[in-house]
Point group: C2
Chain length 113, copies 2
């Protein structure tokens, strides 16, 4: 019998790095924080605002995202967009994610044999 | 231009949780720490001994691995094996990893559209 905590911790660890990949992919279409949060959740990437907002600021500092204030709506909102550098990092991360899948399959088949 | 550090950090974050999955999968066939390290590396999961050994102890504390000393060889070695609980967690993690891939594909296609 595995405690829920143990399973949850391992699932969280597995998910942590993927939020960066999902954010960079999603922000090819510019969006503000809360709308991105909802979009990620719709696609099965549940993430807290307390996790996502600092992450967006970190990715902006690293110049993987650019931002722009949209003042045309009733409430000004900061729109983030994946930069060219962000696109290049995204490609590397997606390649790596695919490589993990391939490695895992190889490992599991190697053990079964 | 993205600094190597930025890319490396994101790659590491993405990889971190997968070492648990890889270890649980690999240890369906019992092995000792150093042999596992080599087996993981062969399959593209490069991991430091300083990371792997504490991880094995943590997984044992969580009863996802069992261990047994093999004293038949010239040097006694602790062999780890994935427990029934470990197998059940492994299944959940592999399902989640597959779900991440599906979610990511959906997200990317949704943005392209």
């Amino acid at each position: 019998m595995v405690s829920d905590d143990v399973l949850r911790t391992h699932l969280q660890e597995l998910r942590r790095g993927t939020v960066v990949v999902a954010s960079l992919a999603a922000l090819r279409r510019p969006d503000y924080g809360y709308a991105l949060l909802q979009r990620l959740a719709e696609h099965g990437f549940a993430v807290d605002a307390n996790t996502l907002y600092p992450l967006l600021r970190r990715l902006e500092e690293q110049r993987l995202l650019t931002s722009e204030w949209n003042t045309e709506e009733s409430r000004p909102r900061k729109y983030y967009r994946t930069s060219d550098s962000g696109e290049s990092v995204l490609h590397r991360l997606l390649d790596d994610l695919a490589a993990v899948q391939t490695s895992m399959t190889g490992l599991i088949e190697g053990v079964d044999r």
